[in-house]
Symmetry: C2
């Protein structure tokens, strides 16, 4: 079997997008898309994804729909992991199928995502409902041995843009959302 | 939640399609489609579908692709069960996702299916590779309480066409194929 695709990803919390967006545009970044995303996360029937560090999600991405599996993160300095995507045709139908197979919907994350293409990377400026503002920088690779090189290239680019890669957040938006809900309940 | 769709289905082994096809056409049946179908069946990560009488399958249906879940059969006289379908975009991608979730591909069934619409039912004339010739008559309903009425209507129509509904085969093509392989190995 060929290697599965890997998403090299770094995520940073930010106060606002103003300065970073100006720098991206000055550097020649191309605005790819502004899209509303609504992600439905599911728990596995027989293992705890929060322990195995995996995820299964249905994404409503503007007019398109995707089913995505994310494998365990294998790099302590980033969110890099196997990521598998396939386009699907109906949130309702795939949800019914997943539920019959024993998967349970555990949360929904909604965000506005502004996507820039810059230096061969995707810069996602995310305004996440009830969570906050984050920048996710990502690149898909097909050979695991390239991941450190690509990650370090992302770090370098972030620094050039005045951002600190040390502030890397490895938690998912779902985890951040669930943590917030838990804190608010106390 | 609304009721999930139910497929009322009766399946009969036949020697050939000649006579039944003539009778269908004489009765005003419409030929809907002749299609090559290739079905990939999967086992669940934590339960044995052959015991729970469920199924998960990817169907290559001519140029289209579907993911299908089938629930336990609840009628001893037919193959009637919950059936959920959703169109998907790539066999390879969804297979990779299912494999990462712990599902295992257990068999592939290939057939030529000729579909007639007759009396508001679908008559599928199936030439199943390594298994044989079968007729599947099916109808999707959305209210479980209608299933006996619809099943008996199928039985009545089969009798009018000179076929014997008592010969109903409740095993799936996958089960028939796996049994055949097992017998041949002996």
């Amino acid at each position: 079997m060929n290697q599965l695709p890997i998403e090299v990803e770094v995520k940073l919390p930010v106060e606002d997008f103003g300065e970073i967006e100006i720098k991206l545009l000055e550097g020649g970044a191309l605005l790819e898309e502004i899209v509303m995303q609504r992600d439905h996360y599911f728990q596995h029937p027989s293992k705890d994804f929060s322990k195995t560090d995996e995820a299964l999600r249905i994404r409503e991405d503007g007019d398109r729909l995707f089913l995505t599996y994310k494998g365990p993160k294998f790099d302590p300095k980033s969110k890099t992991r196997t990521e598998l995507n396939t386009e699907i045709s109906s949130v309702e139908d795939i949800t019914h199928i997943l539920e019959q197979l024993g998967f349970k919907e555990v949360g929904i994350v909604s965000k506005e995502r502004k996507i820039y293409l810059y230096n061969d990377m995707l810069f996602c400026l995310d305004n996440v409902e009830s969570v906050g503002l984050y920048i996710e920088v990502e690149k898909i690779i097909h050979d695991k041995k390239d991941f450190k090189k690509e990650r370090d290239l992302i770090f370098k680019t972030l620094k050039e843009l005045g951002l600190d890669p040390q502030k890397n957040e490895r938690k998912s938006y779902l985890e951040l959302l669930l943590e917030k809900i838990k804190t608010e309940k106390k």
